[in-house]
Amino acid sequence: MPFRYLPDVALADIAFEAESDTVDGLFETCALAITDIMVDPKTLRNTTQREISFVSEDLDRLLYDFMTELIVMKDVDSLLFGKFETKVSPQGTSLKAVATGETIDRERHSLRNDVKAVTMHLFGIKNEGGTWKTTVVLDI
């Protein structure tokens, strides 16, 4: 799994670290981790697509805003996503993504924790030896 939970980082909440060879891959991995916290992804069908695009001031903010957008769509549109295709601009300030998933179905989906927000705690993207890495702490 390209993300790993960090149980000792935030007692009351949930933290994970993610890594990928590419920035796009890192964004997709973080998105999948958020889904995994909220639902067993094996119970999700990929029947609905949403296009997401926005601009932020830097790469850190772009990832923060992307993850926040997924949480907003969970509350506003009752959507959870199991598949992501993301394209981050070379400058790291704009994102185009396609998220595929479906509307929450309490009977069929194995739901887990509701994510309230992405926190800034320990947050930031690093490139170590060509691998893109980040730590994310979510308020539960």
């Binding site: 935030a10 506003v76 009752s78 959870l80 924790n113 539960i140």
Partner: protein, 476 residues
Amino acid sequence: MSDVTWEIPTTYKPGMQVPARIYATKKLLDNMDSGVIEQVTNVACLPGIARYSYAMADAHWGYGFPIGGVAAFDTEKGVISPGGVGFDVNCGMRLIRTNLHYSEVKSRVKELVDLIFTLVPAGVGVKGTQGFAQSQMGDITSLGVKWCAEHDLAWEDDPEHVEEGGYIKGADISKVSRQAISRGVNQFGTLGSGNHYLEVQVVDPARYLDRNLAKEFGIVHDDQVMVMIHCGSRGFGHQVCTDYLRTFESGMRRFGIEVRDRDLACLPFSSKEGEDYYSAMVCAANFAFVNRQIIVNKVREAFSRVFHRDAESLDMHLIYDVCHNVAKVETHTYDGINSKVLVHRKGATRSFGPGHPDIPAPYRGVGQPVIIGGSMETGSYLLVGTQKAMEETFGSTAHGSGRTMSRTQAKREVRGAELQRKMLERGIYVKAATMDGLAEEAGMAYKDISEVVETMDRAGISKKVVALRPVGNIKG
């Protein structure tokens, strides 16, 4: 300072403006995570902080401020910090009484809890059954429970039994983002997830601590059935905090404010950004009051349907509703002067003593009710505020039991279905949105609430009234 009061002097860390004060027994202090000491002393470094940076007996690590933290700031020279309020603005507790005896309810607990579970949605991405239009959000978040009373969504005496009379003044919906409004508009009357719960409880005769005080709150017999609700401002408040953390981080560079921890982002309360956050945060706080009100309406409906009596005849009056994640402007006397201060309580409860004008008239002689929620296995407490809290802690005390174990570790220790079965054997019927979520909230993952409550009582900043034992629980 005493066996339950500890101080860390300003020499502990460069930049501390005031000492830090921790309320804890030696045992609680020894077991407190090191993050609390680090964070309570970081808060002591913030501009304009008054008297002390406090950590209550239930304190544990949080974002920037510790959970269980209290800090008051000068309204002119001090700061406001979203991290001192928390993501779940006005997460709080509500306690309603009934005149039912447990013997009348025991055989109906499952039916009752199952019905409430259908009326009060809980868990990931749920929507409430009480629909409002986005165009109503300004009025709702300005007037809180007062708005509910004006629209037949609250009993006449409900607003006065809510902190601040059911709404905090100073709301301005124009300071709230479109995303926050969209997240919140369909979530009224929902419990949420995490550590939020709705519990049917009984007054525990073995720990019936002050019968005379209890009578003041309509608690008049052993095994009296009560309902406790723990939840907050849902996606509305979470988004307000998210939005303003972003604003504050960039604003700090402009004001040249440096903090020891990125999560301590703060700005002068008198700045435009500070005022805007306060107005938006007040909207979220009032949203939470309304959310808990809608839930209470559903609870009254459920009792009425199960017991074939109207809620009035079941005496289902609100005892009180307290915030435990909020920042409010209050007047306090310190250093011999009456001053307006911005009191941040993050995982801490207001604990105003007898005689305070902000306490509803029926309780003014005894003090403000303080509701301390425990884990779903160990029970909860009703306390009252004290004059000593006014003198020592800007009228503040603890809020709950405080976690000691991560969610992952709790799930390793016990499976949800096994916990549910064991709790049923102990006379607690639990209905959970998810089994994983249930395991994460097991009693062993929390501090001993009795020791937390005992500490606050011995310190004199709140006084025990009754202990409440769970018999039915809905876990978000």
